[in-house]
């Protein structure tokens, strides 16, 4: 398809590429800088990014947001006292839970566990999944057959059910145990995306050009394949991050994720259900936090996808 130059897309929306070079001489524009340019103008991205920055700050420096101790129980502060909606940032802002602990303080301190689970699981999953997917996709043959079958096996395990099985076998469930359990089951999604993406990229002429120059496999993988194949992985990982946070909450709610004395939203939702009819806010407030966080990451993932998707540009 040699002279296939004039596709409508190029004709219509891309002629800017060449000329842009002439009009703005020294500004280098890569896919990432273009994506950033798009993202900054996308309200979806701005809202989700602001939310995420706030949540991360809470997770890292909870002390900045409340002076109350989330584990301090004072039965005098009974959960039947309604929240004082007007007392912003005060310990009684969201009222007290069954054991008389400040819900506001618990929500603030609970962010760390939830977000740590989300971020660390995502990091682990991305590394393991990308490496597996990249090797399977690039080398093909029996390596691909082997790795893909392993991936399929893991993919076949229902996520929450699998996590339940794994976690019940642990006596003490620290945050890192939950992280490892979720990562153990979650990497397959990334591996599949990475494999598909690598298979497309490895056929590109520039990969062949590098081979023709005598480039080593490591060089081809790191310089040519990875940077070009990573975009869809990042999109999927960002969206999955929200999923891991809700998975942690789900497992903790079921009593097999994190447990007291760890402070986490899932743990609070779990303990809140007992008094659902008397004091719904005990359950609802941590639930809202989970929802906002999950939503923020999914929105971010969507925005990043739109900015990186080559079909839209």
């Amino acid at each position: 398809m040699p002279e296939a130059l004039e596709t409508p897309v190029k004709d219509a929306t891309q002629p800017g590429s060449v000329p842009a070079a002439e009009s703005k001489p020294e500004k280098a524009r890569s896919l990432w800088s273009d994506a950033w340019h798009d993202l900054r103008r996308n309200p979806l991205f701005v809202v989700s990014a602001v939310l995420i920055v706030v949540l991360l700050t809470i997770a890292v420096f909870p002390g900045l947001f409340t002076s109350a101790d989330p584990r301090h129980a004072d039965l005098a502060n009974h959960y039947l006292q309604k929240p004082k909606w007007g007392n912003f940032f005060a310990p009684d802002w969201f009222g007290y839970d069954v054991q008389g602990r400040s819900i506001y303080a618990r929500v603030i301190y609970g962010a760390r566990a939830s977000i740590a689970v989300g971020v660390l699981v995502t990091l682990l999953v991305t590394v393991v999944g990308t490496v597996t997917g990249m090797l399977a996709g690039y080398f093909g043959g029996w390596i691909d057959t082997l790795l893909s079958r392993v991936t399929d096996i893991f993919f076949g395990i229902p996520f929450i059910l699998g996590a339940m099985v794994v976690l019940t076998s642990f006596e003490e469930r620290h945050v890192y145990v939950v992280i490892l359990a979720l990562a153990f089951l979650g990497w397959t999604q990334i591996a599949r995306v990475a494999r598909g993406s690598v298979i497309t990229i490895k056929q590109a002429d520039y990969v062949m050009a590098a081979k023709a120059l005598g480039a080593s496999t490591t060089r081809i993988l790191l310089r040519h394949i990875l940077p070009n194949a990573i975009a869809p992985v990042i999109v999927v990982a960002t969206i999955a991050l929200g999923g891991y946070i809700s998975a942690e909450a789900t497992l903790s709610f079921l009593g097999i994720g994190l447990a007291e004395p760890t402070v986490s939203w899932g743990v609070d939702i779990s303990s809140g259900q007992e008094q659902l009819r008397n004091a719904a806010f005990v359950l609802i407030i941590p639930s809202i936090m989970v929802s906002i966080t999950v939503l923020a990451f999914i929105m971010l993932g969507d925005a990043v996808r739109n900015a990186l998707d080559p079909k839209l540009r």
Partner: protein, 352 residues
């Protein structure tokens, strides 16, 4: 097996006299696209017309606006980001741009059909070609499944697909490139349209197949007395089949001429440059003439004549005044029908 035709059968102008007005008349068409970097002015005042039985070749490089014009005619522009701020597209005297959606849809496919460059991606890969052909008759003419299929086979015979009866249930990928392009032509012909727009119909094909497909297209056009707009970048293909040529550059027509005239005496430096820059099969030349510079940036079309930064003859006036598309005449003022040039110095170009 092989037809050797000692041909002098180069199409003579076949302009029909029975119809008074042209079939399609594009007037002062403008198309622009909004992009991140600004407004891309893809088409900037294009005028052309085609009559029944006539072949107009629209010649241009990528970014010249030749395909965008065709898409505007077919009503398949992506809007947004596309926009038609100005212009008329008259089909049998009626402006298609102001028509209702339904009316327009009826013209598209039934009266005007389009052939695309890439037949594989234009055909649905999960449906048999017979089904896709028959669908045209079922939807537009309400034929029964059986009748439609019979017509589909008939059509495949028409475009000379061998063993049409057996192949009607094959899928697009089972055909070769040339055969797929024939199927595309069959689909375009199905409803016997008045006008066919072919966008680089043979670019993706091999030379030996190219000739077959072009011949078929020309023959069918003659048979059905259709108008044909042939969009291409290939000066060679144009020379074989066109009656008249419109050369586009930066969204404008810079020259129009009957086919023989254009090659003999181009009246625009861009056309001259194009002709000089292609190597010839029958001559071994020295260094090729190359038009210097780059195709224009449609975000920032040069002032004056868009070709001026690349033109060897550019003067001050070319950098300030947009040259209108003027009628070209003989040295003694004698008329040259159908010839126009958008160059301030067309006289020097054609007579000098």
């Amino acid at each position: 097996m092989t037809i050797i035709d000692k041909t002098a059968d180069v199409p003579a102008p076949r302009g029909s006299t029975e119809n008074s007005g042209p079939l399609l008349d594009v007037r002062d068409l403008h198309v622009e696209f909004k992009t991140r970097d600004g407004v891309v002015k893809a088409v900037n005042g294009v005028n052309y017309s085609v009559s029944a039985g006539e072949t107009l070749a629209v010649l241009g490089e990528s970014g010249s606006g030749k395909s965008v014009t065709a898409q505007a005619i077919m009503g398949i522009l992506d809007m947004p980001p596309g926009r038609i701020p100005q212009g008329e597209i008259l089909f049998r005297g009626e402006d298609m741009l102001t028509m209702g959606y339904e009316e327009r849809r009826k013209i598209r496919g039934q009266k005007i059909a389009m052939i695309f460059q890439d037949a594989l991606s234009s055909l649905n890969p999960v449906l048999t070609v017979g089904y896709q052909l028959a669908e045209m008759f079922r939807v537009h003419q309400g034929l029964s499944k059986k009748d439609a299929k019979a017509k589909a086979i008939d059509l495949m015979d028409r475009v000379r697909i061998p063993a049409a009866k057996e192949r009607v249930n094959d899928y697009p990928h089972q055909f070769s490139g040339g055969m797929r392009q024939r199927i595309m032509i069959a689909m375009a012909l199905a409803l016997e349209p008045d006008l066919i727009i072919a966008d680089e119909p043979t670019t993706a094909l091999d030379v030996t197949v190219q000739a077959q497909v072009m011949d078929l297209l020309a023959e069918l056009q003659r048979e059905y007395n259709m108008g044909l707009i042939l969009i291409t970048h290939d000066l060679g293909v144009v020379a074989d089949v066109a009656d008249k040529i419109a050369v586009m550059y930066a969204g404008r027509i810079v020259e129009t001429a009957p086919v023989h005239e254009l090659y003999k005496r181009p009246a625009h430096p861009y056309t001259r440059g194009l002709l000089d820059s292609i190597p010839r099969l029958d001559q071994k030349g020295q260094e090729l003439y190359a038009i210097k510079g780059l195709p224009p940036n449609l975000l920032k079309i040069p002032t004056g004549c868009a070709f001026n930064p690349r033109c060897p003859k550019a003067q001050d006036i070319c950098r300030t005044d947009v040259p209108p598309l003027l009628s070209v005449t003989e040295r003694d003022g004698g008329e040259l029908p159908g010839r126009h040039s958008a160059c301030h110095f067309w006289k020097e170009q054609i007579h000098g």
